[in-house]
């Protein structure tokens, strides 16, 4: 049974074969857990979320008609749950870009810099970068997690999120542009302008 395709396992699971469901979950558990953990950056929260996601899969599998790939459907549910969780926590409100500007950051700043590694060693800086990453619009943050961390293909991400590849790339561009702009300003404040 382990050699069966997702679609075949889904059909068997829909007929009530628990083993097929277990194989499907085992196939994607690691990827989904990593995605969720990278999204929420908290082991316990990720654990609860993943449990909820798979329980949701269990309950709704009977309604899955195979209009998209099972993996896309599964990851879409996972991403939506992560986004819902973040919304509930109002992370964006607590860590808005205004917060960074209050600390002297200018996310729109541009220019050259050097020695990223040296800068990132500073834990406070790491914390601020993480906060800035968390404060990105959810659709940009999702693409960063899926592309930069999970190393998923653009086509796969587009299929999961239901958006064109060009839109996904545009969101990634905006996210990286924002993060890149932070670095230059941070270095200027802490160590003077780069030489």
């Amino acid at each position: 049974m382990e050699n069966l395709l997702d679609t075949e396992l889904v059909k068997l699971a829909q007929q009530g074969q628990g083993q097929a469901f277990d194989i499907l979950i085992a196939r994607y558990q690691k990827k989904v857990t990593h995605l969720v953990y990278r999204y929420v950056n908290d082991g316990d929260v990720a654990l609860d979320l993943v449990q909820d996601i798979f329980f949701k899969i269990f309950k709704n599998l009977v309604n899955f008609k195979g209009e998209s790939k099972f993996s896309s459907w599964l990851f879409r549910i996972a991403v939506n749950d992560c986004v819902d969780h973040i919304r509930r926590l109002k992370v964006r409100k607590e860590h808005s870009l205004d917060h960074f500007r209050e600390f002297g950051f200018d996310v729109a700043d541009t220019g050259e810099s050097s020695d990223i590694e040296a800068l990132i060693v500073n834990k406070e800086t790491q914390s601020r970068v993480r906060e800035l990453l968390n404060s990105l619009p959810e659709n940009q943050r999702t693409v960063v997690v899926m592309k930069i961390y999970q190393e998923m293909k653009f086509e796969e991400i587009a299929d999961i999120l239901g958006d064109p590849v060009s839109t996904i790339k545009s969101r990634l561009y905006k996210a990286l542009n924002t993060l890149g702009g932070l670095l230059r300003r941070q270095m200027f404040i802490e160590g003077g302008p780069p030489t």
Partner: protein, 197 residues
């Protein structure tokens, strides 16, 4: 060639398949080179703050476990629905010195409801009676005021009439005296003239 588009920057950054002309433009354009460098820094930052995967916890997931969980969830909902329906039918949960019990109190509830309705009816009757009393009292006061006003008017009228009557009587008396005196004068005159014996 115009500057690189957002998608083209991402293709360059991630080594995606792209046109040779992009690389040619990048080699010549300082602005695009700077923008690409900025994006590279953004990506480096994103990667360097990637969550530590050593902290990941993997859940225990199985069809059997979820089936049991679903069953428990369903049972909880069924129990809640049953409680709701029973409460509508008149069952109620009661506590007796630290212990809880479910009792059928449909009849008791009806009796209690009847008593409540009777008490409400009684209160309603009292309210109507009070209202009537108040209304009657107000009417009485109004009539009393009218009677008093009428009595006052009659008193005034009587005084006027009496006064007028007295004036009239006085006037009549004076006229009668005048007429008598005139008769007396005429009589004396006739006597003097010998017209009367």
């Amino acid at each position: 060639m115009t500057h690189l588009q957002e998608e083209q920057f991402i293709d360059l950054l991630l080594g995606e398949p792209r046109s040779v002309t992009l690389d040619e433009h990048l080699a010549k354009c300082l602005q695009c080179q700077q923008q690409l460098a900025k994006l590279e820094k953004g990506m480096a930052l994103a990667k360097l703050v990637e969550p530590d995967m050593a902290q990941v916890k993997y859940p225990s997931v199985s069809y059997g476990g979820y089936k049991q969980k679903a069953l428990k969830t369903r049972l909880v909902w069924l129990a809640a629905a049953a409680m709701f329906i029973l409460s509508l039918l008149g069952f109620r949960l009661e506590s007796n010195k630290g212990s809880w019990s479910v009792q059928l109190s449909l009849l008791g509830k009806n009796q209690e409801q009847s008593q409540q309705i009777a008490a409400l009816e009684q209160r309603l009757l009292e309210a109507i009676e009070l209202n009537n009393k108040m209304t009657q009292s107000q009417l009485d006061a109004r009539f009393h005021a009218i009677y008093q006003e009428r009595e006052q008017d009659f008193g005034d009228l009587r005084e006027v009439v009496v006064r007028e009557m007295r004036d009239l009587e006085t006037s009549n008396s004076q006229q009668l005296i005048a007429v008598r005196d005139e008769f007396k004068g005429d009589l004396e005159k006739f006597k003097v003239e010998g017209k009367l014996q």
